[in-house]
């Protein structure tokens, strides 16, 4: 597992260096004559070196997480939970805004993203929380406190807004409940309700939106007609048209009121648009669909073996946006093709497979829950991030664990892996 992690990180460094590189005519001519190893020397090293710093820091934290027995960490659950909430609330007040969301806190020269750490903190604290009430989980009444426990940080993160991370929390909750002994039937029902509810919201919105649009069109057509008829046509007809127009306008008013009200209590129009655009990115390839459309082109144009290292036209000619963080997988797909993507996915699979083995080997319930939470978090993030770059998941701003550029991401994930190793080293000794 550690080996796979190291390879992923090494791969990631090269890709970050590649992704942030922009071509100039001179540099391009140089590349053409270089072999792969020489090309490595021409990466863009600004982000690369920063990331190395984060990685060392991450390994430090990881070592710490391996060293301190996880039982000791879990004992601090109450404190950690409060700390977590505190940091998240801090973001809302003193947070640093980027890309339309308030997610970062600045401490000295560093900025960090509490919502990243919130994931791990939630896993730890929720494990402690669940371990205490394990036998009560098989009934509905036993489940409610769990929702409250997760719901609080969930809502705060949603407020930032960081829909991606809040979804990760939900996934973690379900995963851990599953391992804690909640009835799978209950979980499925909950999941079903959630899906129906979400679908319901989107359907209602679509209905309102379309109704408003079609009314607007009707009014636009009718208004000039009415004007002309009232000037030159016969009176009865004019009156009839006028009545019709007024009725339409009233209806339009009502619908648009509902529409506004709807957005006030749920997501904003542009957010909804961003979440649904992946179903048909071509609808608006220069606006909401731009990211997905370009990402699809990037990945698809890679083909089986890719365009070659540093030869991706989509990334180096800057068509692909935010390519060193959220969309870094597209760069892999473009430069190394299907085989490269498969290679990366198998590395993740190794980690996940080892993770599930650790779940079984864990010494106690806390260990099982921790490991389950960590693996869930990992698989969910990998799936949603990669799914986003290939157009089967909405764009929600979830980074690719261990791969995307970003200090918080790398430190948190390494810490999580450290915790997994911690559980592994303190596993049940099987005595024959």
């Amino acid at each position: 597992m550690l080996g796979a992690t190291l390879i992923i990180i090494f791969f990631s460094l090269i890709m970050i260096g590649s992704a942030t590189l922009e071509y100039t005519p001179e540099s391009l001519r140089q590349f053409e004559n270089l072999n792969i190893f020489l090309r490595l020397l021409h990466l863009d090293y600004t982000y690369f070196s920063k990331q190395i710093l984060w990685i060392f820091l991450g390994f430090g934290v990881m070592a710490l997480m391996v060293y301190v027995p996880y039982e000791d960490i879990i004992k601090q659950a109450r404190f950690l939970y409060v700390l977590n909430l505190f940091m998240l609330i801090m973001v809302l007040f003193v947070g640093h805004t980027a890309l339309g969301a308030q997610r970062w806190i600045q401490i000295g020269p560093l900025t960090f993203q509490p919502s990243e750490f919130a994931k791990l903190l939630i896993i730890i604290t929720f494990a402690a929380f669940l371990a205490k009430r394990e036998e009560r989980l098989n009934s509905w009444s036993g489940l409610w406190p769990c929702f409250l426990y997760i719901g609080l940080p969930f809502i705060i993160i949603l407020k930032q807004p960081d829909l991606g991370t809040s979804l990760v929390l939900i996934a973690i909750m379900f995963g851990m409940l599953f391992f804690a002994g909640a009835k799978p039937a209950h979980l499925l029902v909950l999941l079903g309700i959630g899906i129906i509810f979400t679908a319901g919201i989107f359907t209602v919105h679509m209905y309102l939106h379309q109704a408003q649009d079609s009314l607007e069109k009707q009014i636009l057509v009718l208004r000039p007609k009415e004007k002309i008829i009232s000037q030159v046509g016969d009176k009865d007809e004019a009156k009839e048209k006028n009545v019709k127009l007024i009725a339409l306008e009233e209806k339009y008013q009502a619908i648009s009121e509902y529409h506004k009200l709807f957005h006030r209590y749920t997501l904003k129009e542009y957010q909804m648009n961003r979440l649904t655009i992946f179903l048909n990115p071509q609808k608006d390839i220069l606006g909401a669909g731009y990211h997905i459309w370009q990402s699809l082109i990037t990945v698809g144009s890679g083909g089986l073996v890719g365009k070659g290292f540093l030869e991706g036209t989509q990334s180096h000619f800057t068509f692909l946006p935010i390519r060193h963080t959220d969309f870094i997988f597209s760069v892999v797909g473009e430069e190394f093709g299907f085989l490269g993507a498969l290679f990366l996915l198998s590395l993740y699979f190794i980690i996940l497979y080892r993770g599930t083995k650790i779940i079984i080997q864990a010494r106690d319930n806390e260990g099982v829950l921790l490991a389950g939470g960590i693996v869930t978090m990992f698989v969910f993030q990998v799936f949603v991030n990669i799914g986003m770059t290939i157009g089967i998941m909405p764009v929600t701003g979830i980074p690719l664990p261990l791969f995307s550029y970003g200090g918080s991401n790398i430190i948190m994930n390494l810490a999580a892996l450290g915790l997994l190793l911690n559980i592994y080293t303190r596993r049940k000794k099987i005595i024959f």
Binding site: G300, S301, G303, Q314, F319, I392
Partner: protein, 688 residues
Amino acid sequence: MEKKELEKKTHLFLALILGALIILILRLGFLQLVKADEYRTLARQNHLRLTRLFAPRGEIFDRKGIRIVSNRPVYTISLTGLDLKESAQVVNYLAGLLQGEKSFQGKTKEQIETEIQAKIIKFTKNKDIEEKFSLYEPIKIACDITPQTIFKIEEQRYQLPGVVVDVEPERKYPYGDLLVPVVGYIGEINERELAAHKDEGYYLKDLIGKEGLEKFYEPYLRGIPGARQMEVDALGRPVRDLGISDAVPGNNLFLTIDARLQRLTQDALAQGIKRALATGYPEARAGAAVVLSVYSGEILAMASYPTYDPNIFVGGIREKDWAKVNEKKALINRALARYPPGSTFKMVTATAALESKKISPSYVLNCTGYYKYKKDWKPGGHGRVDLRKALQVSCDVFFWTLGGLTGPEKMAYYAREYGLGQKSGVDLPGEEAGRVPNPAQKYGKWQEELVRVQKEIDQIKQENQGSRGKLADLERKKSKIEWELKWREYDTLDMAVGQGDNYYSPLQLANYLAAIVNGGIVYRPYLVKKIVTPDGRLLRKVEPQKVHKANVSSQTLKIIKEGLHLVTLPPGGTAAGVFAGAPYKAGAKTGTAEVHGHDNHALFLAFAPYEKPEIAVAVVIEYGGKGSGVAGPVARQILDGYFDLDKTKLTLAPKETGQSLTNQFPAQNKPPELKPRKLTIHREVYQE
């Protein structure tokens, strides 16, 4: 927790993980293996731009190498990448730079900016929304930019992403209206033309010959457009040049036209029309003159009046100019328009009578001024006339008699023998055959009319409404038409003197005269002598082409030719005054064609020298009144000029737009080499 249960759960969990990964792999496989080609194309379109390089059109020279139509290079500015956020700023900045340019004269920066924005909006609106890649097609926003402004733009490249500077060849007409409207004009290809020429590699915004020689020789003149392929980044900034295939200039035309004679002819025609106006024919506003080489069919000059300055078409004609040109009907080449020939038809009547042996060459008639119910143009008649004399004085009574003797079929036959009423085959678009009247043709014409009236009557009867009066009117009209269906005697008489349903173009008339004086050979009149490639290789040489040998005896032709010579001589020759004092012997025929409700058309045919004819001239002045007095002097001027061309002082350009011969397109001197390197052009860019 039970270990067994935990293991079961974990296995389920592992299965879920595997499922998720398999979904990803399947989707990746779909994108990267199944649809990879499609996305590769899209990626290419993202970062490759194909720019068409316009080929300079071939130039047009006269028979002696004087450049009548040439090219000059102009700078144009286009915009690409309109999807950029910066484009509004770029337009703003560009507007500042373009201030004071010729095409934006006297406009403020804001006005220029709105003008450019309007162009962009118009362009994007025009395009199908589905056709998303039109965003990457450059939009031309300004033409004919001064080099100073181009330097400024190049200096500030980085503030102007998406701005493209190109050099395009533009038509130039150094001598203004010389040979207008024969050369025609070019313009942006329209949708209909695009559909018709789809397989020849035309694209929107290409230029195409719309009229005249430009249209007829389009495939030769056009050249082969080149292309440049560039790699660009997301901001549309060029990253590198992937190769260029040079445009190949079009081929040059060398005409049979003599530019100096052409100018002289145009001037003479214009003066003739002025004279007609001055002598009391206020409707005389248009006309045509054609000068043919008698023994080859080469067109030495072809003039149509009024003309226009073709330079107004360069870079897209303004609406105002278009309206003006159209109002004057200056785009019509009147040398190909149809006119009644009047007395110039009498040679056909004479031929018919002699050839069908209805009269002998020595036939003499005493003209009293009357033929049955018809009166000669000269009160009292011409006395005793033979054929030569009849031509000389244009005796109507004589030709009526001949017409009556030979009948319409024979006359029509010999008219066709001389090439009348058929397309001459001249290398210009839109030529019409003209019309030779005969009983069958007349019957057909009125039959159509009859059918139309009958239908109207039937309709009224069926619906059983409409006043009795109207029905009676229609019935009366019908019986009149039924009477007209038949060829009557007066039709024969009208035909014999070139009235009635005779319609021929000045070009046909000149060619007909040429055939009479060259021994009966009908040549194909032509304008292009040779076509030469830009590097000077002869591509096509046009030889004189005998279309037909008229079935007329040389004796008949000789008699007629003598008669035509007499026309120019006193006493009594209708063109004796016109040719008084000419240093050469000539032959001619006047014609004054009656037009219902207007002044007569003035026609004049002439050839010279009499002994060994070289050129034939036809002049027509619409509503010019009299053949001899109005059209005659024009022909005399042309003939005088022809025999004394080297000594005649001439400026080829009309006075107001006189321009020198410099400023030629540079590619002209040095033919570009075709690079052996083959450029793969990604057709999808245009096809999708």
